[in-house]
Amino acid sequence: MKLLVIEDERDLSESICDYLGKEQFICETAYDYQVASEKIHLNDYACIILDIMLPHGSGIDLLQSLKQEGKTDGVLIISAKNSLEDKIKGLHLGADDYLAKPFHLAELSARVAAIIRRKSFDGKTKIAIDQLVLDLADKTLKSPAGKIIPLTRKEYELLLYFVGNKNRVVTKEAIVEHLWGESIAMADSYDFVYSHIKNLRKKLMEAGCPDYLQTVYGMGYKFSLRTTA
């Protein structure tokens, strides 16, 4: 699957590509309006990561011309301007999501994964995780034996987040921000994440799965599927 990162800051652009490239994505970059415009016209992408403020033009204009052409590429806007107005405008013009800088790469990855899921499943709402099947429509997880593994809402969201960040270390802070919002992320301790991880791990292992969740000491967690890792 191909992604296009339209971001004029090379350092940021490279980091995004580096991180997302660890998955099955192929990342292309565009550093200014013209290049981005050309690439959008020539290719189809699973998802376009779009910065609003670009040299020689605005990301909003790119979004508009993309939609005028009737393309269905997913679009995730990343902006330094955390303004509701921009967000509403972007979403109104057909962007799929909006993320304010500075963000965690894990968050970006989870959102890109979500956009791609929505765009490419065409009604198919089941994700295979190794031997497990995650049903997005009724938010359930089925074990290899076909039994439903009951998950709390937080555990379900957590699993989905990990699926979007497979084989990568995710910090506790990023998890808290994703699941509880930024307000609570001001807290000094993120230890309460641990109990959710523990429960999720327990449920998965009880269903007969190997231990997918690996604790990275002092940092966070890594979700890796043994078969692909």
């Binding site: 800051e9 107005e85 965690h104 802070e173």
Partner: protein, 423 residues
């Protein structure tokens, strides 16, 4: 003291002293004039006596005429003419009265007589008093009237000044509108208004520039912050990080988090001040608060903080995003500044919300509580903007916020008019 009052006080004091002095002076002048008149009357009679004596050689009949009392006594030697006043007993009215007398010697029929012509002064005393009192009375009335007139005139003349004063009092630096000063024909006030208007416009411009600077600086910070964070996110993917390296990375993450939170808070403040959140809707606070409490519950449990909520149905008309931030900040504040085993009590009524929490046993400094960068402890990880954001949102949404410390609880009490609209 008001200008009028001061002016009146000085004016009255001076007038009273002047009035008293002039009353005394007036009395003496009038008295002198009247005595002089009296003396002339006595002179006239003396002239008559002299004429009579030169024509007939004798003295006119002694008697009481025109209130005059005339006495002749033989004298041995001439006495020089003199006037004087002395008190005499009046048998008719049975009291002592001052009498004006003229004494001189008159030669008649080869003899010298001492002639005394006397007239009671009762009349002139009465006259003096009547004249002095009526004049003073009129003066007093004139002064009173002029004070009243002055008052009205002054009030009218100074009106533009007080209007300008009101304009300044209502002036808010962060509001968009420029103050409008009343037009006045008085040159001084007109000049003053002009200067004030210029000054306030300058202040507003400076303030706006400062705000824009904060906003731009915060914006500019986001991209480098995003880069640093992304780089860190990549770095932790490395397989062979040592415990030491992890510790260093963790420190860097914490610092990045603080600075990005700081710039976001500053941006938010700038946006609220710029009235960028104008859409208001009726918000069901009970539902919203329940969701928030659910969000915070795990954090509270984990930190051994007990939460109790008494929520009644309540609605507020305000901006949804702002109310969201407001509640987040209030709850986070109550949670973060709590202690292990502490409590958070949320009390929602129809038009009032109280968030109370245990914490330090000391009340917070109310004067500085809502100020930017106010921190109880200087080493705190928090930027001290949370409560100033809360205050700003309350001000903007027509919510009254009070803090008090009671029964070892820090209480933030918010109240609003049930049907009041935001802004």
């Amino acid at each position: 003291m008001r200008l009028f009052a001061r002016y009146n006080r000085i004016n009255l004091a001076v007038t009273a002293v002047l009035l008293a002095l002039s009353a005394v002076a007036y009395y003496y002048v009038i008295n002198r004039i009247l005595v002089h008149e009296l003396d002339e009357e006595l002179d006239n009679y003396k002239l008559k006596v002299e004429n009579y004596a030169s024509q007939t050689g004798g003295l006119p009949e002694k008697g009481v005429m025109e209130d005059l009392v005339v006495k002749y006594e033989p004298a041995d030697q001439p006495i020089s003419l003199h006037y004087f006043t002395n008190n005499q007993y009046d048998s008719e009215e049975n009291k002592v009265e001052p009498v004006r007398q003229l004494i001189y010697t008159q030669r008649a029929r080869t003899r010298l007589y001492k002639v005394t012509i006397a007239k009671p002064m009762e009349g002139i005393h009465l006259l003096t008093r009547v004249i002095v009192f009526s004049t003073l009375g009129i003066l007093l009335i004139i002064i009173l009237v002029s004070i009243i007139v002055n008052r009205f005139v002054l009030q009218k003349l100074w009106k533009p000044f007080y209007e300008s004063l009101n304009v300044i009092r209502r002036f808010k630096l962060h509001e968009k509108t420029l103050p409008e000063f009343p037009r006045t024909k008085t040159e001084e006030f007109s000049l003053m208004n002009h200067q004030l208007s210029d000054m306030l416009t300058d202040a507003k411009t400076d303030y706006r520039l400062l705000k824009e600077f904060t906003e731009n600086a915060s914006h500019e910070m986001q991209t480098p912050l995003a880069i640093i964070r992304a780089k860190l996110d990549l770095l932790i993917q490395e397989e062979s990080l040592s415990a030491k390296q992890v510790e260093i990375l963790d420190g860097a993450y914490v610092a990045i988090k603080r600075i990005s939170k700081l710039s976001q808070s500053l941006l938010l403040l700038a946006k609220i001040e710029n009235h960028q959140f104008t859409e208001a809707a009726a918000i069901d606070l009970k539902t919203t608060l329940n969701e928030k409490m659910e969000q915070f519950r795990e954090f509270w449990q984990d930190n051994d903080i007990h939460i109790t909520g008494h929520l009644e149905t309540s609605k507020i008309k305000a901006n949804r995003e702002l109310v969201d931030i407001l509640l987040n900040n209030l709850l986070a504040n109550a949670a973060i500044h709590n202690k292990a085993g502490g409590k958070v009590i949320i009390d929602l009524k129809k038009d009032q919300l109280m968030v109370s929490n245990t914490g330090t046993g000391q009340p917070l400094d109310t004067a500085r509580l809502f100020r930017r960068f106010y921190k109880q402890a200087q080493h705190s990880q928090h930027n001290g903007l949370g409560l100033s954001i809360v205050k700003q949102i309350c001000d903007q949404s027509g919510i009254l916020i009070r803090y008090y410390f009671s029964g070892n609880l820090h209480v933030f009490a918010l109240s609003w008019k049930e049907n009041g609209s935001a802004q």
